[in-house]
Amino acid sequence: MTSNGRFYSCILFVLVLTVQLLPGSPGYCETAEEKGLLIATEADRRDDGFGDYTAEMTMTLKNKQGNESKRSIRTKTLEVPGDGDKSLSIFDTPKDVKGTAFLTFSHKIGDDEQWLYLPALKRVKRINSRNKSGSFMGSEFAYEDIASQEVEKYTYKYLGEDTYQGQSCFVMESYPVDKKYSGYTKRISWLDTTEYRLHKIEFYDRKKSLLKTLTVGEYQQYLGKYWRPGIMTMVNHQTGKSTVLNWTDYTFQTGLTDKDFNSTSLKRVR
């Protein structure tokens, strides 16, 4: 579950931006694609240097009839300079899957690497990361939704500005680079123009119809710089099901290293 928090708020890579290149600056001619990429890049740049963080999350699954099922998950995330994050997600409930853990090495280019630890069998299993369009633990979040959102995984197109919940937002489309295995043809994202935080994404399926909407809120700033959401709600319009992620206990720069994200540490997660 990778960089949930970093998540969409942090979309992608680092370009050195000159003042003239900043979105909205007058007098500069750029295409909608260039402007979309610049916004994504700037959002990512603003999250650079967080180092590592841990957080706790409650995932609530709701079906059409209103039945609910909860999972509690702890996450650890390590920023990897020049590449995607490493992350570890550990399930505390439901009790029958307690101790199950996912280890993910996300990459800017190419497939992510993923392992699953099954505590009852003491077994580490490699997982096929091409399953990215598949549901994460029965939720409305696909693996690709909870994975580290690297700039390079999409191409972009700026659509314009919009007001969302009283905030001025950039609206842009993004298209997965991995067209074969992504579950989406297109995403439309809303990022506020002041802090470049993600507020909403609409997901369009392979038939180009609206599949899901993600809304993100209750942002708080950590270390005076890094914004993380308190709530993320994914609604599936085609099935009527939804999943809510409630984030708490963000702790930054806890001293995690590569050694906390290998097969040895995976087997001793608690």
């Binding site: 003491k122 077994r123 490699r126 096929n128 598949g134 029965g138 590569d258 097969s263």
Partner: protein, 406 residues
């Protein structure tokens, strides 16, 4: 209560050590976690037993207690005890300390002292190279339940892989179904009559060294094990009443093993291989195959995995028989991805030489927040008389198990 009396000194040491640790740091009580499970199991067999004393149904109750104590940031104690009561088979009424280990770790190495469990392997059907822990054969037909192994384990992770060393001072004997148990040989095994090739008996110190790493899209491990074979040869003798009985004969072996898991697109390739010396003639064995994933089948959230595997084992079949000598396996794994994590696994194992076929079904779903129901069944079809699986030919069964987690 526990499998062998000889373990009492060790058990006592761990129980006392655990009590001291658990009571010593009350200010740290948040680092103490207890959990457990209680399960009820009912099995129905479709045929009368092939061997005397076997019944057509059985019921069992099992409990598991887990205690975890984070003593310091780098020192953990884990305790996992298990006990089962079986209505039919007195040998299946048994308990075990699955885990009673201290784990100390730094950034550069870790050490485990105590009873622990270790799994090595990659494939789904046959677990050839998994050798550290003894199989708790009465627990499950698939051999995936293991007994806690006393050990000192040192692991040194590096950028280039992980080196692990194991010193195992005490051997655990395999459990076998009793006279009234199903899934047994025509003549029952009396595990109390175990004989060892080595004069140290259970106290022979077994050693293992393993190196594992990730190379590009492949996870691989190689190891060497020197010590007491986990799978004994079964030899015939007569008990005091002059009735035939089998006894386990544990030999000293050397075994090299290899396991690989590799990702290639939507394929996962898996392979295991071993070379063993010390039991009749030296032999090699290998199992390998694939799992292909279909995501979101029929526009649902369901995933379907297609599994194909093959196993070949060149051992001396007259000395150490295996049912997996030359078999092909196929499986379907359905993950419904619903709230209750419903899963169904259907597998077929077919002996290429004899044509004997085993069909197995494992299905499971959660009920509410803290219960799970499992429905398992196996069918033994056209089992050839010459096939070592013939002793199971009448054991078609269905088992329902309800587990409550707390």
């Amino acid at each position: 209560m526990f499998a062998e009396n000889k373990h009492y000194p060790l058990l006592r040491f761990f129980c006392i050590a655990a009590l001291i640790l658990l009571t010593s740091s009350p200010e740290n009580s948040s680092a103490l976690e207890t959990s457990g499970e209680i399960s009820g199991q009912g099995s129905l067999f479709f045929h009368d037993g092939a061997w005397d004393g076997q019944e057509r149904q059985s019921a069992a109750l099992a409990a598991k207690l887990e205690i975890y104590h984070g003593i310091t940031d780098n020192l953990q104690f884990t305790f996992e005890a298990f006990y089962r009561v079986d209505s039919q088979d007195s040998e299946r009424t048994h308990g075990d300390l699955r885990t009673a280990e201290f784990l100390y770790f730094t950034n550069n190495w870790e050490v485990i002292i105590g009873l622990s469990r270790v799994f090595w392997g990659a494939t789904e059907f046959v677990h050839l190279v998994d050798i550290i822990n003894q199989t708790d054969q009465v627990e499950a037909l698939d051999g995936e339940e293991k007994l806690g192994q006393p050990m000192v384990q040192v692991a040194i992770p590096n950028d280039w892989g992980v080196v692990e060393g194991f010193i195992m001072p005490l051997f655990r004997e395999r459990t076998f179904p009793g006279e009234k148990g199903r899934f047994r040989s025509p003549v029952a095994v009396d595990s109390t009559l175990a004989v060892y090739e080595n004069g140290d008996d259970q106290h022979h110190t077994d050693l293992a060294l393993r190196y594992s790493t990730t190379l590009a899209d492949a996870d691989l491990g190689i190891y060497y094990f020197a010590g007491t074979a986990r799978d004994p040869v079964l030899l015939l003798t007569f008990d005091n009443n002059h009735r035939p009985i089998l006894f386990p004969y544990y030999e000293q072996i050397g075994q090299s093993g290899l396991d690989i898991q590799m990702v290639a697109g939507e394929w996962l390739f898996k392979a295991e291989a071993l070379y063993r010396t010390g039991q009749s003639r030296s032999y090699a064995a290998s199992t390998f195959g694939f799992e292909y994933s279909l995501v979101g089948i029929y526009n649902t959230m369901m995933n379907l995995g297609l599994i194909g595997e093959y196993v070949f084992d060149d051992r001396d079949q007259r000395w150490l028989p295996t049912i997996y000598d030359n078999d092909i396996m196929a499986g379907l794994r359905l993950s419904v991805n619903d709230m209750d994590d419903s899963t169904v696994l259907i597998g077929i194992i077919r002996d290429i030489h004899y044509g004997s076929t085993i069909l197995g079904i494992e299905s499971s779903r959660r009920i509410g927040d803290s219960m799970r129901i499992n429905l398992d069944a196996s069918f033994f079809i056209d089992i050839d008389r010459e096939d070592p699986a013939f002793s199971l030919a009448q054991d078609d069964f269905v088992t329902i198990e309800l587990t409550w987690y707390w």
